[in-house]
């Protein structure tokens, strides 16, 4: 095998030698190169990620973190990136991305209830982008559908910064009774068992490969990269799910860890490092796909559909017979020991003997944080739209933009109803999806990102993204209880990027504390660039909310002859709307500032909405986010194909109305529809809440406001047609 140590620097090597007190042999160098890669070790990010720790999170140090959900459930969930593999081999990259995140949930003995995804591509004027898109969607579809877990939520964006590249982030969520959780902490005296697919040469060095920037020009390297991508086998995964369930149900496993990045190496070293013990591994005992695999390849292979479990001697036979029943490969290839040593043998030869804590905890770097020039320039630019308005044309342009319009051509390829627990699946207008957990526990989930806003203002951009997910859940009656994140950044060694990263994490840590919605888990993906072009900082958030009865879910589409209220302040001259969607769509600009969030107001609005819902005063809510006030109104009207008459512009002259119509400010705004306008008005007045009455829905053929009238069908067509 070619030596591939591009992520271990000379300086790092010297540090390891110093800590170890001796030189490393070739095998050990390879081990360290993988374990100290960004992908496995988080060496550039972990100092900052500590800020996200929260005492309300259960088992934050495990494969995924959890929050309590009702009285008898833990909900584990996590987002994970698979960008590098997807850029090189989009179908397999996306498929194995799902495979990996499902294993993270499965290994804890959770029942996996839902999948989600956030995928990003360049624009379709480039054929390669279209191909990447089609293949990624096919990969998610083929794999996700086969394993019997519904894909209920997702998000897709097309931006130039992702040209020739793909951001593939996948979400998995599972539920478990607190007493049944299986941890990944070893103890001495257990057998080390590998379960599932054979180990082959695919995905060797995947972790180191994912920790560098990809470059289009170097063909040889690309060929090598292809070998670093794993091959998916959803059928084996389904068998593994069924077999593991039986093994877990019979309580035959002491600890479990999925085999993901850096394969057997990282799974076994994490198990023993968490359990403060050691291990003897015999690599020649692992069941292989092909003969003549070197020990390096065996230990680093990222062949999919494998799990490592630790089993007491007296349970081994039962484990073997269950594996046989489900036609799953299995081998016993080591034992845990008291001595804190990570010993690797191959044909009786000792290849490595290292202290596990060095392996899993080698380096931690500090990043430079200086406000980049580009931000100082962009935030001063004021977005102006010329006075030569063709509002109808511009509205259609916004509604028909690929990032906004109906995405049924994507989500209809994902099975969203398998599992028989889907209450709200994906829909044309997007928003929150919902899954039935049990009678008293209904789960809502939203997945979203705002790359442009985070680019302009990492801290406030992330806070705004967070709060938009929060508002979406609130608008359907769910109380947000936890969030997971996937932080996709370009080359972290670049100072602009390290600023984006550090400030994004700061924003996330801050708002999660302020809003009391803990970060349960997360993933970081660095070096996302091709041909030295950086992606926008892409902070994907998936937020989960709780509701105690599915009948209390709030509608998101208006009905005929309802009065529409704006809860919140209309946009005025003073508010900033940096990074708003319409600026990008109409003028291809990403400029401006983003205001701070008013946390107290957010909580106040949440409480009011929940109270109004309880009192049955409201019919539907459409939260205002991407596309501003007009987009929220449109989404509320769309499902029932309604018309509207009223006022949308309050603070600006008609020829300068874009900011108020489409702007996305930081203050909370919701559209509420009701037939009990007097009661609603009274409650708002009594509590001194900001609101405006916008108008009334109808079944006419027009949407009209401020003396302007538009044919509603042209809007519906622009949004719907793909």
């Amino acid at each position: 095998m070619k030596k591939n140590i591009y992520t271990l620097t000379k300086k790092e090597y010297k540090t390891i030698v110093k800590r170890l007190g001796r030189e490393l042999n070739d095998f050990e160098i390879l081990i360290f190169a993988s374990m100290t890669s960004e992908h496995c070790s988080y060496k550039h990010s972990k100092r900052y990620l500590k800020k996200l720790k929260n005492k309300n999170v259960i088992m934050q140090d495990q494969n995924a973190g959890a929050v309590k959900f009702g009285n008898n459930n833990y909900i584990f969930f996590k987002l994970e990136s698979h960008n590098h593999p997807s850029a090189v081999s989009p179908y397999e990259g996306a498929a194995t991305g799902i495979g990996g995140i499902v294993r993270d949930i499965l290994t804890l003995n959770c029942k996996c209830l839902l999948l989600g995804n956030s995928i990003k591509f360049g624009n379709f004027d480039n054929k390669k982008n279209e191909n990447l898109f089609n293949e990624v969607v096919r990969g998610i579809s083929t794999y996700g559908n086969s394993i019997g877990i519904p894909t209920v939520c997702g998000e897709t964006q097309f931006l130039d910064c992702y040209n020739n590249y793909a951001i593939v982030n996948v979400l998995a969520l599972g539920v478990v009774n607190p007493n049944d959780v299986i941890l990944s902490n070893a103890k001495p005296g257990l057998k080390v068992v590998i379960l599932g697919s054979t180990t082959g040469s695919d995905g060797v060095n995947g972790a180191t490969f994912a920790s560098k920037s990809l470059n289009d020009d170097i063909n040889d390297e690309q060929k090598n990269d292809k070998l670093s991508v794993q091959i998916s086998d959803p059928f084996m995964k389904r068998k593994l799910i069924m077999g593991l369930k039986e093994i877990f149900d019979k309580k035959l496993v002491y600890a479990s860890q999925d085999c993901g990045a850096a394969g057997i190496l990282s799974s076994t070293s994490e198990l023993v490092s968490k359990g403060h013990c050691g291990v003897n591994l015999y690599l020649d005992k692992v069941h292989l796909r092909q003969d003549e695999l070197s020990p390096q390849e065996i230990i680093l292979s990222e062949s999919q559909e494998r799990m490592v479990i630790l089993v007491e001697d007296y349970n081994i036979n039962q484990v073997l017979s269950i594996a046989k029943k489900h036609e799953i490969g299995v081998s016993i290839f080591g034992e845990t020991i008291k001595d804190k040593k990570y010993n690797v043998y191959f044909n009786n030869e000792l290849l490595a003997s290292l202290p596990p804590n060095i392996l899993t905890n080698a380096f931690e770097y500090r990043l430079k944080v200086k406000k980049p020039k580009y931000i100082k320039i962009l935030e001063k630019i004021k977005f102006e739209h010329n006075n030569n308005l063709d509002l109808e044309y511009d509205i259609c342009k916004i509604l028909s933009h690929p990032n906004f319009k109906n995405k049924s051509h994507i989500f209809e390829q994902f099975d969203s109803t398998v599992g028989n627990k889907t209450i709200i699946g994906p829909s044309m207008c997007g928003g929150v999806s919902s899954i039935y957990i049990d009678k008293d526990n209904i789960l809502g989930v939203s997945i979203d990102s705002n790359p442009q806003k985070v680019y302009l203002s990492p801290k406030n951009g992330v806070e705004l993204s967070f709060i938009e997910s929060y508002r979406k859940l609130v608008a359907r009656g769910f109380n947000p209880v936890g969030v997971t994140n996937c932080l996709n950044f370009a080359n972290i060694e670049n100072e602009d990027i390290s600023y984006q990263f550090v400030k994004s994490v700061e924003g996330l840590a801050n708002i999660s504390k302020k809003m009391n919605v803990p970060v349960v888990s997360g993933n970081v993906s660095m070096y996302n660039e091709t041909n030295n072009k950086s992606i926008f900082p892409t902070v994907v958030l998936a937020m989960v909310g709780h509701l105690d009865n599915y009948k209390s879910i709030i509608n998101n589409s208006f009905s005929e002859k309802e009065t529409i209220f704006l809860l919140g302040k209309p946009i005025d001259e003073k508010m900033n709307i940096g990074g708003s969607f319409y600026q990008y769509v109409l003028q291809d600009k990403v400029v401006g500032k983003i205001d701070n969030i008013n946390y107290k107001e957010e909580v106040l609005y949440r409480d009011i909405i929940f109270d109004l819902n309880k009192k049955n005063i409201i019919n539907a809510i459409s939260p205002i986010h991407t596309g501003g006030l007009f987009a929220a109104l449109f989404k509320g009207l769309f499902k029932n194909k309604l018309g509207f008459k009223g006022t949308l512009i309050f603070n600006f002259p008609q020829n300068d109305c874009y900011k108020e119509l489409f702007g996305e400010a930081s203050n909370p705004r919701y559209l509420i529809s009701t037939t009990k306008q007097n009661e609603l008005k009274e409650i708002f007045d009594k509590n001194s809440i900001d609101y405006k009455i916008l108008g009334v829905t109808n079944v006419n053929g027009t949407i009209s406001f401020n003396e302007m009238t538009f044919d509603k069908n042209s809007f519906y067509k622009a949004f719907r047609d793909t």
Partner: protein, 217 residues
């Protein structure tokens, strides 16, 4: 009423079916495809649940038809012991095993389709409009001339899509072989049972099965 739900490696709708039928008052148990000590004659209905049996490698349902359980099912059918119901992958397996005429191949858009569809169920005096979810890649029904003639003569095409969803011949979504008591359909009635689901029309479907078939066997 006892119902057996067949599980192949790769089946993934067995739990969904179990929960739904239990809710409707059936007494369900799983039957693993290679279990020796199983007597199918104990059951009034055998369900081949949805999923990707044996990964649907080569073609959907093609490997499952070689499983020992299929021989037992053939025996069950010959003895008119009860109803055999194949849902989605189950329908594909029944066609592959020649227990129902025709084949199911790739959707005409060559993509997986997951959505709610409107259907018409037509059998003797029964005439139902149903809204049920579909979720399949190979649901495009095709029959050669001879098979199609048989389908028409025996009036097997009891369930049809209202619109052309996946390219199926004559909009066929399901077949019912009245003589042999075999039903196969692509939509998932078991996913339209619970009150929280988008549709509850699956209840109508199983009512049809109970009233029309199970009570008469």
């Amino acid at each position: 009423m006892k119902v057996g739900i067949v599980v192949f490696p790769g089946t993934n709708c067995e739990e969904d079916t179990y929960r739904a039928l239990k809710f409707l008052g059936f007494n369900c148990s799983y039957i693993f495809h290679n279990e020796d000590i199983v007597n199918l004659f104990d059951y009034r209905m055998i369900i081949l649940a949805g999923g990707f049996s044996f990964g649907d490698y080569i073609a959907s349902g093609r490997l499952a038809k070689f499983s020992p359980i299929i021989c037992k099912i053939k025996e069950y059918i010959e003895n008119k012991a009860g109803l055999v119901l194949g849902i989605c992958n189950g329908f594909q397996i029944l066609c592959e095993a020649n227990l129902l005429p025709g084949v199911l191949t790739f959707n005409n858009n060559n993509k997986f389709i997951s959505k709610s569809v409107n259907l018409k169920l037509n059998y003797k005096t029964w005439d139902l409009n149903l809204n049920l979810p579909i979720a399949h890649f190979e649901g495009n029904f095709y029959a050669n001339k001879n098979d199609f003639k048989i389908i028409k003569e025996k009036k097997m095409d009891f369930l049809k899509y209202n619109q052309n969803i996946n390219g199926s011949m004559d909009f066929i979504a399901g077949l019912y072989d009245n003589n042999n008591c075999i039903i196969g359909l692509m939509p998932h009635p078991e996913r339209a049972i619970f009150e929280y689901s988008k549709s509850q029309d699956g209840r109508l479907f199983f009512e049809f099965i109970k009233e029309n078939i199970l009570l008469k066997i």
